[in-house]
Amino acid sequence: MPLYHNDDQAMLKDSVAPFVAEQAPVSHLRKLRDTADATGFSRDLWAQFTEMGLPGMLVPEAHGGLGMGHMEAGIVLEEIGRNLTPSPFLATSVGAVAALAKAGGTQAGRWLPAIASGEAIIALAIDEGAKHRPDRIATTATRAGNGFRLDGKKSFVLHGHVADMSIVAAKTDGGITLFAVPKDAKGVTADPRRLVDSSLASHVTLDGVEVDADAVIGEVDAGGEILDALLAATRTGAAAEMVGVGQGAMDMTVNYLKERKQFGKLIGEFQGLQHRAAHLYGEMEVARATVMKAQQLLDEGSEGAKLMVSVAKAKAGRAANLAVREGVQMHGGIGMTDEYDIGLYMKRDRALAEYMGDVHYHIDQVARMNGY
């Protein structure tokens, strides 16, 4: 498969890009922020996403979805990134779907159709501390009656306070097990915090939460593989969104270089800025290719996907970070104002960079996967 969008994918982009740009441009984020929106995203917009079939893109057709791949989901995520659109798409339609589709069984049958129909918002309760350490999960699931009892604390749970179901990773006797914990489960409290990018992420406390045995996603003790699928999909998706954030910031900045005059010249005429902009272009192109490669390998079910996913999250993280930093710097004083959008790009990049493992985490993973 060549590493560019085929005709169908190009058509998808041609319909999604104007849709997101018109319905949810940066002003949409500002409106939610300035009205202190308590949901974290617009349900009206999610209904429009649903009309286009987007929430169920990755859901298998047998469960009412479109059965598409990560390459297609990445097209949507890039536009979400470019427009800084607050959306449950990444956690619900990419991360949760990857886990449920991998696991199959009762929970897949219960939730995948609800995701595809736009009815269900899903949260991913994986992290427990300030840093992403999925190998050190301390939340416990102990057998109680016919089911399990969950105890622990989760953090950085996007949409945790409004999700219809949370996928909770917990330690069981023989490994990791994933649980589908419904919204109304007793003993669950979600404490939403406003983050730097205006999104809402919750600290979730699980205090003796009792769930039935069939709340297990997949098999008991065998959640490691499902968690891996969830992480690979979400990381790749976050990387695609970062490519959108970085590209949006870069485009805005390159345009500014062609408009702003100082010393009687357009600042884009200065070689000091030209070279930095050209370097950034190269980094963004490489990041885009890397993310596409990770998407392709995931869609092919290739062995090499895991390495490339970490490479993509790290590379997209570096490139987008460069784009937003250069963006603010090259905008000069106005780059520091709330009125200009470039600062919002910097904020979203920071949040995405941290989500599901930062650059350093993934660089370390790359070293481990190469035997050092």
Binding site: P2, V254, E285, V286, A289, K293, Y372
Partner: protein, 393 residues
């Protein structure tokens, strides 16, 4: 079985029968490389047998038409031949600037007579070519070149000098940019071809920081060049030169720019030692190598995407400049890490254990990557102007 499958079988059988075992060993020294030419001495019988077999089959230039010494293979067939050669680790039968550079220029701009006359000896490895582009006063600003050819009716009299002429002291012929009109900067250069044994040509090797001398200074004193020895049109040699530079960057972008595209940490872990946790036993070096590996794997994906897009006309025409810039900077970084990882051993300059200071010399050699074929700074200028459309660049 498809035609291509049949072709693969045929190639496999042919290679099995014709590629000597010695030619399936990795290249260790410069003299393992067959450059051909009048002065070339084969290292052994196997090297000659491998060249002869490939020449007879047209496989030194498989995608050139048969009348010019090639095998007339389609792009798909050429790819299969390369895959099959790689599979058995076959060495390149013939390396040459004639194949890489002059050939494509002649195929694009040459007359039928020139193609037959010049391409066949290149394909057979009989004539070795060098490239006369840069001058002492014309590096990045190549078009300012001063070497002048005075029109004397049936010939030019050429005076001037070239620099960074790769292997000029070993080459038989040169393709050379010569000013033939002093009043027209861009349309006053002619792409000439002449024999390095012509009276008036002298070469002087340049000793580089690596201790090697792959480049020369080349001087022309009242050199006579017959008026039929040029490519394209008189005074329009810049078009040929630009085409060749583009071709060179495309070739570099196709895989050469990033150097050895494998995990550096993985290679070092074997020799460097690990701690109890199985990590490279130097946390900061490990981190730098891992960050480098991320960039290597990322660039590999970029290379794949670039070639997929380039071959199908989807790539921005200037994107090979980005590939050259990113790739060569990456390769320089690799060799900095190779030196750090090697420590004091890698400093040894001529010991047998270090294969004659291979690491140190290789490290120094890579510093030219971002200078030759267009500096990184020129690449960035081109990206700024042609891709980002920045003003006044």
């Amino acid at each position: 079985m498809s035609n291509l499958d049949a072709f693969r079988t045929e190639v496999r059988e042919w290679l099995e029968a014709n590629c000597p075992a010695e030619m399936r060993e990795p290249v260790r020294d410069e003299d393992d490389i067959c450059w051909g030419g009048r002065k070339f001495k084969f290292k052994n019988a196997a090297q000659k047998a491998w060249l002869d077999a490939c020449v007879a089959k047209g496989y030194t230039v498989p995608d050139w038409p048969k009348p010019y010494g090639g095998a007339g293979l389609t792009p798909e067939q050429t790819k299969i031949l390369k895959q099959e050669m790689k599979r058995i680790k076959a060495r390149s039968p013939l390396d040459s600037f004639g194949i890489w550079m002059l050939g494509p220029a002649l195929l694009q701009f040459g007359t039928e007579e020139q193609k037959v006359h010049y391409l066949n000896p290149i394909a057979r490895g009989e004539i070795r070519w060098c490239q006369g582009y840069s001058e002492p006063g014309s590096g990045s600003d190549l078009v300012s070149l001063q070497t002048f050819g005075e029109d004397k009716g049936d010939h030019w009299v050429v005076n001037g000098s070239k620099i960074w002429t790769s292997y000029a002291d070993k080459a038989d012929w040169i393709f050379c940019l010569v000013r033939t009109d002093k009043t027209n900067k861009y349309q006053g250069i002619t792409f000439m071809l002449f024999d390095m044994e012509s009276p008036g040509v002298t070469t002087k090797p340049i000793l580089l920081i690596s201790g090697n001398s792959p480049f020369c200074e080349t001087f022309f004193d009242d050199l006579k060049v017959p008026k039929d020895q040029f490519v394209g049109e008189i005074n329009r040699g810049w078009d040929v030169a630009k085409y060749l530079l583009g071709h060179e960057r495309e070739m570099i972008s196709g895989g050469g720019a990033g150097g050895d595209m494998v995990s550096i940490g993985g290679a070092f872990a074997k020799s460097f030692g690990k701690n109890a946790a199985g990590e490279l036993d130097d946390p900061i070096l490990r981190a730098e190598m891992a960050a480098f590996d991320v960039d290597v794997f990322a660039y590999r994906a970029m290379g794949e995407r670039f070639m997929d897009m380039w071959k199908t006309g989807r790539a921005h025409p200037a994107s090979s400049n980005m590939m050259k810039y990113v790739g060569t900077e990456l390769n320089k970084r690799r060799h900095e890490l190779v030196m750090s990882g090697g420590g004091s051993e890698a400093l040894e300059w001529d010991s047998e254990e270090t294969k004659g200071g291979a690491r140190a010399r290789g490290w120094l050699r890579t510093k030219a990557n971002s200078i030759e074929g267009g500096t990184s700074e020129v690449m960035l200028n081109v990206i700024a102007k042609r891709i980002l459309d920045l003003p006044g660049a």
